[in-house]
């Protein structure tokens, strides 16, 4: 089969990196957190009518940003993390955030952690058409049967990968979706969610993630 001479290009759309804390009561007061972040150069998201202390409030969403990094928190689920342009930047930005919170508020984001997570969305351009390439990985027998059932000529739209025999609701989980980008069908969209109770596992997964994703796409297209 003729191979495309175009080198695959992988561009990150968004990368999230953070932790889900294992506390009954979320340990970061909204007002204290905002003050600590503002003191350290973060721009705060505008909030009106913030109740005075000691009223305990729940909060969620983008609460601050610095450069291209946005801080995301959900006090009800116990999540705190960052959104960045690149996965490596997100990891470094999370470490900076953890330093600020530890020094200003005494809460260690690397202890009492239910799980660490990363969530990344990529666009990949290989010069080929994903809608034509993705069906190469489909099970022909199943598709033949699907055709009969639906009375249509069908093909696979996406490839989804997850750990074998894992529970989707487990702390240790990942999900990789490879599909055509719905905005531009000449490119792939690859979405990745990974969570694990150990930070080192996240780091190890992230280290080779992008090169591994390109290898997956190259293998599909081979």
């Amino acid at each position: 089969m003729a191979m495309s001479t175009k080198a695959p290009k992988l561009a990150t759309q968004e990368a999230r990196y953070g932790v889900n804390l294992d506390y009954v009561i979320f340990p970061l007061d909204f007002r204290d957190l905002r003050y600590a972040l503002a003191k350290n150069g973060y721009e705060l998201s505008p909030i009106r009518d913030l109740p005075a202390a000691p009223t305990r409030i729940s909060y969620g969403g983008e609460i601050a940003r610095t450069k291209e990094t946005r801080v995301i928190v959900d006090s009800e689920s116990g999540e705190i993390g960052v959104v960045d342009r690149l996965l490596q930047e997100a990891s470094a930005s999370f470490d900076n955030l953890a330093k600020v919170i530890l020094s200003e508020l005494g809460v260690d984001l690397n202890s009492k952690v239910k799980f660490h997570f990363l969530s990344v969305h990529y666009r990949v351009d290989t010069g080929k058409t994903p809608l034509k390439e993705i069906p190469k990985a489909e099970n022909k027998e199943f598709v033949k049967k699907f055709n009969e059932i639906m009375k249509e000529d069908l093909s696979s739209f996406s490839i989804r990968l997850c750990p074998k025999n894992a529970n989707i609701n487990d702390k240790n989980w990942f999900d990789i979706a490879i599909e055509p980008d719905v905005i531009d069908e000449s490119r792939y969209h690859i979405g990745v969610v990974y969570r694990n109770s150990e930070r080192k596992m996240i780091e190890a997964f992230a280290k080779n993630l992008e090169s591994n994703l390109l290898k997956l796409v190259e293998f599909i297209e081979a």
Binding site: S58, G60, G61
Partner: protein, 170 residues
Amino acid sequence: MALWDPLNVLVPQDEQNRIAPSKDSSLSTDQEAAILHPAHFNVDSTIEPASRIISLDRELRVENQLGKIEPPEFPVDRPWLPKQAHEILEKLKKGPIAEKELITLMELIADRAIEHFQLKEGGFIALTFLGRIVEVSDTRIGLLRKIHGHKFTEEIYVWRVGFRSFSGRL
């Protein structure tokens, strides 16, 4: 295989504004789509669920019945600015500032705007003192043509991406 598509569930507009699901990044891409889309964003139900299609409707501010505070997302049309830029902007509000300080401010804002909007080197941009880009062109003449005759509500200046000099102030 589940053929039910969560995106096809119709949620009344007022219901959408009341529901305030969290952006739980630990969810699978399907879970993300199922939970995020109906409440937070305008969703095209014809798209498949694993993609993340986010509308640019930044006006949605959610205050649910539980009293949870959900800050609005940061505006995408202006970058984060460093403390020094804010300090000079404050001085500028009070009166004229030294030219050197003004140039520093323009550099700070232009640097952040170029990073934020990922602009290509060599192009010309017209931007505000909050870092909003009002026009872009490959040439200075092209840019001047675009902004000629326009009345801007904020003061703007022209900058060449990747260069350390400004071209004019309107």
